[in-house]
């Protein structure tokens, strides 16, 4: 279980998170929605310790994430970055198998490659892509390689930062199904950021909306459509007018 309480983060005068409280139960698929630039990525990075919050606490299974063994902590996570964040000096399969090639999860090269190719297949990429370099792939393909890398070591907790942005509808469907499958089959806990409402419906158990630095609304996806909250309604219906300013 991941718990955030009172998490705040500013960059200079820009107050991005202003006291975020959120709980993600084990084995649950939580989807974070919210306008672009509201701090969704910063929120995920705070949990991983890539961004240090100015105030508040974040715990994983009751243990403060800033204390304890960092390697053991990170080994439980997989993360898909918004821009893919592939290592461009390494081949696609070496990216996917990065964790399996070094450190205490290291295995023989041939085996790591096998696993990488299998993970690539799961995100809809042919084995031929394995020996290409990230720069040779389209943006959508890079995103899927990033996804394959995030799930390669079968982590318990997976963060997906906009997994379907930049993908065609069919590929989005494939990725949505995959995320659902990972949560259901592997019992993983997932936290996904997305703007794509079809994605929200396909993968969420619960939804949280981040707005103005706080969690504006959170609840089961089944209650999302019925909520009277005008912010959520504006967002899910994609209206230009409403309480959320279009210029920000």
């Amino acid at each position: 279980m991941i718990t955030l309480s009172g998490v705040q983060k500013s960059f200079g005068p820009n107050r991005v998170l202003r006291g975020v409280d959120l709980t993600i139960a084990k084995g649950e698929s939580m989807v974070i929605i919210g306008g672009s630039g509201t701090g969704k990525s910063v929120l995920l990075k705070s949990v991983l310790g890539l961004v240090t919050p100015d105030a508040g606490t974040i715990t994983l299974d009751g243990q403060d994430v800033t204390k304890g063994d960092r390697d053991a902590f990170l080994a439980r996570f997989g993360m898909l970055f918004q821009g893919g964040a592939l290592f461009d000096s390494l081949k696609v399969w070496e990216n996917v198998a990065f964790r399996l090639l070094r450190g205490h999860l290291a295995r023989p090269k041939a085996e790591a490659r096998e696993i990488a190719i299998e993970k690539l297949r799961r995100v809809g990429l042919k084995p031929e892509t394995a020996d290409m370099f990230p720069a040779e792939l389209s943006g959508g393909m890079q995103k899927r390689v990033g996804l394959a890398r995030a799930i390669a070591a079968s982590p318990e907790i997976i963060f997906f930062d906009e997994p379907t942005t930049g993908l065609d509808p069919i590929m989005s469907g494939v990725i949505n199904d995959l995320i659902r499958e990972i949560v259901v089959e592997m019992g993983a806990t997932a936290m996904t950021i997305t703007h794509d409402m079809s994605s929200v419906r396909a993968i969420a158990d619960k939804v949280a909306m981040l707005h103005d630095g706080v969690i504006r609304w959170t609840g089961p996806v089944s209650e999302m459509d019925a909520t009277p909250d005008p912010y959520v309604q504006q967002f899910i219906q994609g209206r230009a007018t409403g309480p959320i300013a279009a210029v920000r």
């Binding site: 991983l48 996570f77 993360m79 964040a85 592939l86």
Partner: protein
């Protein structure tokens, strides 16, 4: 107020510089402490050796050959003023191995390597690759900085040695072809006056300069600002910073090595 503000801004600038120096020093100390602790990344080290050592050979060699040649001409015309043209071989050799080989070699490597390290690591930073490394349980300092710093510290002395030899050869070529020295006498003179410490002191300088170049490249890359502009600024800061530091370190090392 008007009178004190220039002083205040000078104070602020000095303070900022001291703070930056402290951060770089801590960064360098962290890298050194990681050199001896596993995990090690031999593949990254090998690639860094190729990039920093091998591919810098042409530029260092070219710099050395022209410098050796020019040095021979200068010393010949300067020496002619007091009938000391015969010192050309020994002064060229000493000047090359003690001073110009390491300093010019170091500066060329600063231009070539410091910039590319800063740009590469800076780009990794702005495209979240450094964050990705962390989430994959890999220490960016160990994986990115240590191999480069180690490779530069070990390979720049070799580059300096090669540069020394090429520089002396450049002086010899000009001496024999243009200034009418006897080839055998020129070489004999070079060998007679050159002491082992002349050469090794230059190699130690090379190691220090290699360390500076890679540390500055890594430091500015890892602290790069956001976007293409951030990477551009990091690259510039790495080249300027490492060049100035090389010249300052050269003076200090020369004091330590040769002031009797």
């Amino acid at each position: 107020m008007i009178l004190t503000s220039p002083l205040a801004s000078l104070g602020r600038a000095t303070q900022a510089m001291l703070a930056a120096t402290g951060r770089v020093a801590l960064f360098a100390a962290a890298i050194v402490s990681h050199i001896f602790r596993p995990p090690f990344y031999p593949r990254e080290f090998g690639q860094a050796l190729m990039q920093i050592g091998w591919y810098s050979l042409p530029v260092v060699g070219l710099t050395a050959v022209f410098t050796g040649g020019a040095l021979a001409l200068q010393i010949y015309s300067g020496g002619a003023r007091f009938n000391a043209e015969a010192v050309v071989p020994s002064i060229v050799a000493i000047g090359m191995v003690r001073e110009l080989g390491p300093v010019l070699g170091g500066l060329m490597v600063a231009a070539r390597v410091s910039s590319s390290i800063a740009a590469e690591i800076g780009t990794m930073k702005v495209t979240e690759q450094i964050d990705a490394l962390v989430t994959l349980s890999t220490n960016p300092l160990k994986y990115l900085a240590v191999p480069r710093v180690l490779a530069a510290t070990l390979s720049v002395p070799v580059l300096v040695a090669v540069g020394d030899a090429i520089g002396i050869a450049g002086g010899w070529m000009v001496g024999v072809q243009r200034l009418g020295f006897n080839s055998a006498t020129y070489l004999q003179n070079t060998a007679d006056f050159l002491e082992v410490w002349d050469v090794t002191s230059g190699l130690w300088k090379g190691a220090a300069f290699g360390f500076i170049v890679a540390v500055m490249g890594c430091y500015h890359g890892m602290n790069s600002g956001r976007g293409a502009q951030g990477v551009g600024a990091a690259t510039k800061a790495a080249v300027v910073g490492s060049s100035v530091l090389i010249l300052a370190a050269n003076y200090l090392l020369t004091e330590v090595f040769f002031s009797a």
